[in-house]
């Protein structure tokens, strides 16, 4: 056994190898992008980028001046996706300016893939058919590991590093070891992927992923739909992993084939993009049947406990929003709790659908009406209050949210206390006016 230190200072243990070693899914994806047969954990390799995504906040307002200063142009416009989601709808002069820069730059550059006020980038990107298994992608946002749900190696980078990608089409990575989160058994009704993530964040901490590759696997994960898988991959950021991968399967293939612009999976993709049976991984086992709804207390996503530890904690604001927790399936989960009921007096329930597609599907299947009749107010499909951008939450209030982060001041006011939970738990808490186990309401 040899020890490899990742250069950011978290220890990694690696089995010693000879010749070509069995490869994890992460290694296979990196090897493909680096033009290699295989790669070894710990080595630093240069990868070709299949797709680079950025938004109004991290993208044009930062990239345009740097590109001009450098006198350089975009390496391949067809591989770039721009999503306006952080400062839309524009509130105030600063927001107007930022969004105007993004729109003007998109026009000047004649970018082919621009989604303006269509929803949150991590949800819009796959819904518009830009992701498929085997891709190597970067995003100008920390929740970019969401793409891992589709078997793509996708991670977040800052704007200057994005400049490097946009100019060269390449980026370096230190090949990570793979931490496998193996879940078995059936989740109880009212318990979902968000609860799985809050449990893992509580156990491993916010840097427990040590910027390695996490792979979610096991019968529980295989039985999840794509929206729930996206929640797992999305919150890999809260585990401090570089990526959160899920091996593509029939569920992935079917989801991609049913898009407005269907993505056809090559026939062999499901066999190729798997971790080899004898590859070296660090495995952790979880029993889904024992999982209770989880709530993360202020001010860390890793501060999670079973919901019954919070009994009767009062709630003034309930928020179903963000890339993490406002997809169609998340809204459906909230609606299943609230059907035929009305939220408690003094509680504000806000729903910001993750994309316009999810909003229109929620309207078509009655989810929207159920939530509206229960007393929900609908907000624009953008990042909004999750990060204190639009509709920031003011004052010394308790908020329960389906979002991914509850750092102090994150939703706009350092005095507010944000509790993180699943859409089931957020809806049940809105119904009663205090933190509530959704299983009590559903049964």
């Amino acid at each position: 056994m040899r020890f490899v230190k990742p250069i950011w200072g978290c220890s990694v243990r690696v089995m010693s190898h000879q010749e070509k070693t069995p490869q994890t899914l992460a290694q296979k994806l990196i090897a493909k992008a680096a033009g290699r047969d295989s790669v070894e954990v710990g080595e630093i390799v240069n990868c070709g980028v299949d797709l680079a995504m950025f938004h109004d906040s991290s993208g044009p307002r930062r990239l345009k001046p740097m590109l001009e200063e450098l006198g350089a142009s975009v390496w391949d416009k067809s591989r770039i996706v721009l999503v306006m989601d952080h400062y839309v709808p524009e509130r105030g002069d600063d927001a107007k300016k930022i969004v105007r820069i993004a729109r003007d730059w998109a026009r000047e550059q004649d970018l082919p893939n621009v989604y303006d006020s269509q929803g949150i980038c991590h949800v819009v990107l796959p819904q518009k058919g830009h992701l498929s298994p085997g891709m190597f992608c970067v995003g100008g946002d920390s929740h970019s590991p969401t793409g891992g749900a589709f078997g793509a190696y996708m991670f977040g980078i800052g704007s200057t590093e994005m400049l490097g990608v946009v100019v060269t089409g390449e980026i370096w990575v230190q090949v990570p070891r793979t931490i496998r989160m193996l879940w078995d058994g059936r989740l109880q009704a009212g318990v979902c992927a968000k609860d799985m993530m809050l449990l893992m964040a509580a156990q491993f901490g916010m840097n427990g992923g040590a910027y390695q590759a996490i792979e979610y696997a096991g019968a529980t994960v295989t039985s999840l739909g794509m929206a729930e898988r996206m929640t797992l991959s999305n919150m890999s950021a809260e585990l401090g992993a570089q990526v959160g991968l899920i091996a593509p399967d029939e569920t992935t293939r079917r989801w991609l084939s049913q898009l407005e612009k269907p993505v056809d999976l090559p026939p062999l993709a499901q066999q190729i993009w798997q971790t080899d049976a004898n590859a070296t991984t660090e495995d952790h086992h979880f029993d889904a049947t024992k999982l209770s709804p989880m709530v993360a207390a202020p001010h860390s996503p890793a501060n999670g406990f079973p919901v019954d530890e919070f009994t009767h904690e009062p709630i003034q604001v309930a928020y179903v929003g963000a890339c993490t927790g406002a997809k169609l399936e998340d809204m459906q989960a909230a609606a299943s709790v609230l059907r035929g009921k009305v939220i408690a007096p003094g509680v504000e329930l806000m729903v910001a659908p993750a994309s316009l597609r999810d909003l229109s599907l929620a309207k078509a299947d009655g989810t929207f009406a159920t939530l509206a009749q229960a007393g929900a107010q609908f907000l624009p499909s953008s990042c909004g209050a999750c990060a204190g951008y639009g509709n920031a939450i003011k004052g010394d209030v308790n908020v329960i949210a389906t979002t991914a982060r509850n750092f102090k001041g994150r939703m706009g006011d350092p005095a507010s206390k944000v509790f993180l939970a699943s859409p089931f738990t957020v809806a049940a808490s809105a119904l009663r006016g205090y933190v509530t186990d959704p299983r009590e309401v559903l049964s």
């Binding site: 250069i7 200063e69 946002d141 200057t160 204190g388 001041g409 706009g412």
Partner: protein, 173 residues
């Protein structure tokens, strides 16, 4: 913009573990320019930091410095405030990449938490020999090695300058 060696002496500003990017670059300041973000840097944790820190000083923290968002203003705010390096037992990997890209040196040091406010530190950084960190009180401290290409990147002031150099070499080569 040469990649010459650098030696800086400064005082320690000590913070705890798990310093997140919302603390370094608060969301409410993100629509403003870097100067404003820098003024609000760490306001929720050390309100005395942004007004009191001096050119060359060091930010020293517990493990998992820089967790959270990809916003690189969380690193460039420290460059703007004149911080010469962040010293911690471990960093968020995403923050680690961003810092070197904007020219901020991060030093992984297992003994970082032994340092206290106002300790005097001297750091020597050179392309060939890497990082040497000496505390006036504790003597030389162990530092994890940093790959040469990242030392070079921080010495030229970040990735943008590196790309400029590469471009000018191509134009003249």
């Amino acid at each position: 913009m040469s990649a010459d060696a650098r030696t800086v002496t400064g005082a320690v500003w000590r913070v705890g573990a798990n310093i997140d990017t919302d603390a370094l670059a608060p969301g409410h300041a993100m629509s403003k320019g870097l100067e404003v973000v820098a003024q609000h840097c760490l306001e929720a944790i050390r309100p005395d930091f942004s007004s009191g820190v001096r050119q060359g000083d060091y930010l020293v923290s517990g493990p998992a410095f820089g967790i959270g968002s990809s916003r690189e203003q969380a690193a460039s705010a420290l460059v703007a405030l004149g911080v010469s390096a962040v010293i911690a037992p471990s960093f968020s990997g995403l923050y680690f990449r961003n810092a070197f890209n904007v020219g901020l040196l991060l030093v992984t040091c297992s003994r970082a938490e032994e340092l206290v406010d106002a300790d005097q530190l001297t750091l020597h950084l050179a392309p060939a020999s890497g990082v040497t960190l000496t505390s006036a009180r504790l003597g030389e401290l162990p530092c994890a090695p940093i790959p040469d290409f990242l030392i070079h990147r921080v010495l030229v002031g970040g990735l943008l300058n590196e790309l400029k150099q590469r471009k000018s070499r191509e134009n003249h080569g």
